[in-house]
Symmetry: C2
């Protein structure tokens, strides 16, 4: 493996000094890029991209050709794991992801396969190897998985959901049964992320998109607890390098304080919490990643620059900040505005690290 | 006007002692009730119900015939105000509300009419009078409006939205222009709510469904500030009775602390914040209304009772709690589960008020 030429992200995630704030974006590879839409169109469906290591590599590196970003993130989906467990993932036009065989009963849970990542999710591991080769040490590669709770919502509802009728019914009516499902999903997720680390990802992120829809008590019992198990079970070092773990619960708010105790290295913060407040809640025990409102990209470069400045100031001085949006880039956004956002971070962030650099 | 026979809600909203916790639900009149669906089907569209005072009265009182609730809430919609301002509200099957003439430019804002509530929204005022007559003092009637920010999102986007591209673009690119819109919406909302009070509503609630999608700074500038103007401009007394004002921002979280300073009497709390935390944040300066996860109604009576108990315990002893869901009742819910929830509040809440009653 070639030497990493830009380790800003890894240093920031471990709260080590940096010269400027590293920057990458959730969904930085995706539909807002015309070159992505072109490949996607030629490939057919979304999963055809994910399942083809060469194409997955191509779209993973596309945003790096345009913008001086400090990380690549594996192009894949959080539902590869339940698919490999036997649920039959498919995508319906305009409908989002669906499962042929959703999980409704104890028998459904018993039937779930325990995937062997190298065999059943080999296309992901192969993509990681191809991407690492292609990146050639330019920037680190981030791997990821969905949180067990978030994946469970799709597995039980059979697809996307607004009110989560089936899984919330199960949570309050048959909590022991739901815990059985959570345990299986957690085990599969741990194996999957460890295999990603083994294949070459240099940091991992767990996306808990729907944890914020739970009451605080249910969140601790059904989402946080299983993310903690993941943190405790991941291989945290590879080739002498620490592999940082980032947790992201959308809408976490004051739950950030509890999330610190999972043993993660960094927390993603959405735009509804100020980074200054997030920093107070987490007491500088972890790095923070975020948190511009992705809808700011509907405005133009001057307005974007002003808001980037505010995010940097809200975090304040010192290490431990990774610049990101508070959620994924929206598909309708103009890439020129993304460029403006990256430039603003490059231009404006060094001043917030001068003290650290002088030490 | 007949004497109010059950003033539990009004006492609780003003933090006065009560014998048990009053209970009502957002969307207590609605699609989960078969008798609602029947009237709705006969009437045609949703707005045909709202615009017909007799039908609006019928559906307003339907849940009171089934459950021993402590309040009625006017059956209407938050988009009656922008409709009266000239935007042309209509509903498309499966699409939700839409406007024929959304607000995109400064000229669009200048053209907005200033509605005369008794003339342009007379159907609402007439519905209030008919409902008060029908209720005959059984329970108080709550009036409501959308928050200016929430109404603005529909006015600018032309309907429901997920990412709010147009209004967030406007917020960051043309904030002065957006403030002009907010001022007009706020003025119309104040007139509308004061007319509702004059027509007979005994409490008012402002629904800020989308304030929680703003960053904390944008929330203060574009949502909270205008709700504060509303609180400052409402007629707060009628016939010797105080008219309590309830504000509800979905996803408010720690913003509850700022919301207290608006001068409202009570805050709605969604299920993602514990009432104990909400009480700490607000320092017993206002009453709190909430906050069972509406998806708990997908479980059965025993599970529901357990969760009602937890909400009551989370609020704890003393006055100032109005039991409600953290958001509206979902349409697929079994009315028997709603009955179980109401019974649980009746059965379990008196113990939390015994101290107060003994004083």
């Amino acid at each position: 493996m070639s030497q990493l030429k830009n380790d800003l992200l890894l240093r920031a995630l471990l709260r080590k000094p940096v010269e400027r704030t590293p920057v990458w974006f959730m969904r930085q590879a995706g539909r807002y890029l015309p070159e992505y839409r072109e490949i996607r169109k030629a490939a057919g469906g979304f999963m055809d991209l994910c399942r083809n290591p060469e194409l997955a590599c191509k779209v993973t590196v596309q945003p790096l050709r345009r913008f001086p970003l400090d990380a690549a993130i594996l192009f894949s989906d959080i539902l590869t794991v339940p698919d490999a467990m036997g649920l039959g993932l498919y995508f319906e036009a305009g409908e989002g992801p669906r499962f042929e065989r959703p999980v409704h009963t104890a028998a459904d849970i018993r039937k779930l396969a325990k995937p062997d990542p190298e065999q059943d999710l080999g296309y992901v591991m192969q993509a990681i190897r191809v991407i690492r080769e292609e990146l050639d040490g330019q920037v680190p590669l981030i791997g990821f998985a969905g949180s067990p709770w978030t994946v469970a919502t799709y597995a039980v509802e059979g697809g996307s959901s607004k009110n989560f009728p089936r899984i919330k019914g199960m949570l309050y009516e048959q909590p022991a049964m739901l815990h059985k499902l959570m345990e299986k999903l957690t085990g599969a997720t741990i194996d999957y992320l460890n295999a990603q680390i083994d294949a070459g990802v240099q940091a991992v992120m767990v996306f808990d998109t729907w944890g914020g829809t739970l009451s605080p008590a249910a969140y601790k019992e059904f989402s946080l607890r299983y993310m903690q198990q993941i943190c405790a079970s991941l291989v945290r070092e590879k080739d002498g390098q620490t592999i940082p773990v980032i947790l992201f619960t959308k809408g976490a708010g004051s739950r950030l304080a509890d999330m610190v105790d999972t043993g993660c290295d960094a927390l993603g913060v959405d735009w509804t919490t100020d980074l200054a407040d997030a920093r107070k809640l987490t007491g500088d025990r972890v790095a923070l990643q975020g948190n511009l409102d992705p809808s700011i990209l509907y405005a133009g470069p001057a307005a974007i620059r002003k808001e980037v400045e505010k995010v940097l100031a809200s975090y304040g001085h010192g290490p431990g900040h990774v610049f990101n949006l508070g959620h994924g880039i929206h598909p309708e956004v103009d890439p020129a505005n993304v460029a403006a956002m990256v430039s603003a971070v490059h231009d404006l962030s060094p001043t917030w690290h001068q003290e650290a650099a002088a030490r």
